[in-house]
Amino acid sequence: MKFTWFNLMPWPYLPDDFRKTNRSVWVDIDQRLFDPARSHEVYNTYMDLLEYAGTLGFDGIGVNEHHQNGYGIMPSPNLIAAGLARRTSDAAIVVLGNSIALYNPPVRVAEEFAMLDCISGGRLVAGFPVGTSMDTNYCYGQIPSLTREKYQEAHDLIIKAWTTRDPFAFNGRYNKLRHVNIWPRPIQQPHPPIHIPGGGSVETYDFCIDNTYSYSYLSFSGYIRAQALMNGYWKRVEERGAPDKSPYRAGFAQTICVAETDEEAERLYSEHVSYFYNRCLHVYPGFADAPGYRTIKTIQTGALSQYAPPVGGYTQLTWKDLVDGGHVIAGSPETVRQRIEEMIKGLHVGNIFCLMHVGNMPADKCMYSTRLFAEKVMPKLRDIFPEYAEDDRFWCKPLAKRVTAGSLPAAPARAPIPAE
């Protein structure tokens, strides 16, 4: 199993009446709610928490890209990842990922991911999302029905840039480049492992299966509701004639809160869970799904945007609803272990993206939950898929010998003697 500690980086100071006074947490959120001076502490605390998780034995620490979004103050995950690459030594740096259709030219992603891979000593796991409609269409202005074509071209360009050792010309529809010749290039060969976040598009299933990429379902609605979608994916893996059904072909994001007891979990975390599900997911439905963003095939399979709120909205969901419904896995280490095992086996997923910082959770509670998970839950879940223990196709392969950041020699008192 691969456990990645993930931080969406929500803005923790949305007001109590946020839903009443704002139509959306995303795209046209009131910019005045962001306080740059306060964000100084928020950013640094969030990065500290990611680094903390890196010391506790998580396989990876994860970041992602959102724009104009109250629950994600991370338009550039690569900036955060660069900081993490320096301040951590073992955990994979999981950037899940860069919305490659938005970079102009996408060679920029090939370069920045290469830099991250080099700085971290080969610890990069690279994610290529199409990006949500909110980010890609409404914030960044991409034409919905051309987004996938542009994404595909960006992908082809990045892979070619990573794997071609001589300068080449790239005559794409969206990118015309005479001299592609990236410098630097990644440590991992032929390129870092690729994870593709998806939301139920059949086309994305095939894309992952055909290229040996891991399919990540980044849902906030939990593992019970994810069952139908993941069944669809595994069915497709079979139909498409993939050589195996390795659980590492898939990843799943799950909100997780651990305490000593189930009661303590509710007492400690319910307000933060409520903050996330009530305020952070308050997306104006007009931004959820630009016409043309989803393919007809996908709409016909009934995969609607997860940002379209459930009938009646999330407000009516109590802690009990959220926990019973599986949106959130919370409780004592034993409760959490049982449910995560159920999730892992049920969905057949090897990569778990643990959403352990939730909403406006303060650092001390987050550390408490994280430590309990790392010490009392994670070790018991390591060997669920022994037959695939050797499958390293979907994870990073760091250099055996890595430098430690901040290891300059003592400042020289006189001119250094040149090495012979």
């Binding site: 795209v27 269409n137 409404y138 202005g141 034409i143 919905p144 029905s145 051309l146 074509e149 104006y284 439905p285 007009g286 931004f287 630009a290 016409p291 043309g292 963003y293 989803r294 393919t295 007809i296 709409i299 016909q300 009934g302 609607l304």
Partner: protein, 258 residues
Amino acid sequence: MELRTVQTHHVPVRYLAGGSGPALVYLHGAGGVTADDPLLAELAKTHTVYAPLVPGYGDSEEAPEIRDMLDFTLHAWDVVAALSLKDPLLVGHSMGGMIAAEMAAIAPNDVSRLALIAPAGLWDDDHPIADLFATLPYEMPQLLFHDPEAGAAMLTAGRNVTDPGFLQAYLVTNARQLGMAGRILFPIPERGLQQRLYRIKARTVIVWGDSDRLIPPVYAHGFKKGIAGSELVSIPEAGHMVVMEKPVLVAEAVGRLG
């Protein structure tokens, strides 16, 4: 009006045809057009009307290779050629007006009469056009009609909007139609027409509803200024869907071109 098919280079194109008299080509807006459209019925009294559907609209085949403004414009010319029409009276509403204006700008000697009904295609920072693509179905009537209540009735036309089957069909239709429209209208319905308007030689009538809340009437002046000798007809008590709210007055205005 009768739904027919004509073959073009890219795809078979579905078009509504009817009426008698001089040929008139009507290019529909982003919402599409149906056989019971009241304006088509009015125009058909005096003209032979051809109303081709943009690929992906109605039951017509999609054309993935039509991506940008030039593709849309040349495809529309392909349709005119496929229908064996020469210098038809060219009429366009909203998105269709944008395409018609582009057609007249790119081939000024082939269009002698042009009617633009609340056309898209220009942008004024002081009067931003509402984001049609972020507008929910229930918000549409308010944006599109002078009388939202009557407009809502026209839009739903007796369909059961709470039926899940209807909802999925609606999403598919929207994805096909507005997905295609988005190629020239998203995120801002402007693709450089302003700098090409001067090329238009056609006698031009510009028609605008006084209470257009989608493309405010101030845009009429941009078109009037850009197209030499053009005439503006303002229609009171009509919104962006002036074609549905005041079809007789619109047909009269178009009729001035002969």
